[in-house]
Symmetry: C2
Subunit: 210 residues, 2 copies
DNA sequence: AAACCCAGTTTCCGATAGTGAATTCCGATG
DNA sequence: CATCGGAATTCACTATCGGAAACTGGGTTT
């Protein structure tokens, strides 16, 4: 859960991930979008400033458009690149995944300071990672270093009281029902301050952000 | 909160959103990535199969690379397009945003069936939207149609008991502490079934997913 | 200082993307 | 069936991209 602090981390590339080029039927996608809007090549030509002939060739994979052409497309049709490159969500990954976690039946993940219980861990490819945490730590000193991970985190106190330490702010006292949202690459650490150990519901964004 | 059911919705384009082309300093980005990895143009040439000269020209915006060239880049350097097009997060938007919401002090948003309380609504550009909901509905019939919105949703029962109706599953009974994660474009509806009105913590992914 | 090396740039030319005009395609109409 | 009209494709030409090689600038060696 502790991530590298290196400034260039986001730029440097981990070697060797996916060896092959994705097929990327760009022309096909363009045609889908055009037809879905009931546009003719002429319409699209007006909107984008690209010639009808060019558009036709792109749709039929007869040429590989220049990047400027792609820009004209995305700005003219008012779409963004992801939309052009990937199948529309509704086709590929829609529809009704579901993952129930009954109270206390998440996947336990104990550490010295926190006892995490991962919720909804049956589901892969989530855009949020929810878990319930019992905060065992009683003193800030029990943390060897800041907890830190890319993305954003939301948490709400379910039971007890905590002190939220963070890198750029004064410690904050949070009681049951209080909630907070923060950029989780800012160092943070939770400490129980009530009678019993505090219980916290957290939701994080996943590693890469999408 | 109720979204269109239209199959083509994801393809059809809402007219006029951002009128201008984003600058998209592609060459600049490429150079950043190359330097961050301490690669020479020769190195990148070997990895991607593009000539040194070509790479130089791309970096200096002297040519607009063909889309096939871009593909060679992303596969050779093992990055993905979003990475090539957008500044790395760590530079642009990092660092320590925070938004505290004390119990009961979120932004109220009542509907006939639900009473929503938006949490952390000071913060724009979130990747998650948390809110607490009091479920007033007592019968499924009180919903005129399915609640439905793009993205994913996580929810946990804080108080009371609910029945979760959903488009593709049998109704599910959820008690305090139970949680569920689901694709929220699947129609869904919550009904209180306990003595008191149920209270639910929900977190949704935002509109576009990024 | 001349010779050399290395990374990056520029030049030149063949290949190919982009354009307007001409052609083909196809459903609707008389 | 001929033909008309709009839409898509093909054609012929120009602009531009992509690659090999020559050039430039800075540092090191002899």
């Amino acid at each position: 859960m502790t991530a590298s602090n290196d400034q260039d981390a986001a730029l440097r590339i981990a070697s060797g991930r996916k060896p092959f080029v994705e097929p990327l039927r760009l022309g096909e996608r363009l045609k889908e979008i055009r037809l879905a809007n009931e546009w003719t090549l002429g319409d699209v030509s007006e909107r984008t400033g690209l010639a009808r002939s060019t558009l036709s060739k792109i749709e039929n994979d007869q040429i590989s458009p220049t990047f400027t052409a792609v820009q004209k497309l995305i700005s003219g049709l008012d779409i963004d690149l992801p939309q052009l490159l990937t199948q529309p969500r509704t086709k590929t990954r829609t529809m009704g995944r579901r993952d129930l976690t009954r109270r206390g039946e998440g996947q336990q993940h104990p550490t010295p300071t926190y006892e995490h219980e991962l919720l909804s861990c049956e589901l892969a490819q989530k855009r949020m990672i929810p878990f319930k945490t019992i905060v065992r730590a009683r003193r800030f000193e029990e943390f060897s270093e800041w907890v830190r991970h890319d993305g954003e985190e939301f948490l709400m106190i379910l039971e007890g009281e905590i002190q939220l330490f963070s890198e750029f702010y004064e410690p904050l006292h949070l009681a049951r029902g209080d909630s907070i949202y923060f950029d989780s690459d800012m160092g943070h650490a939770l400490v129980s301050v009530g009678e019993e150990d505090a219980v916290v519901l957290s939701v994080c964004t996943p590693r890469d952000g999408h």
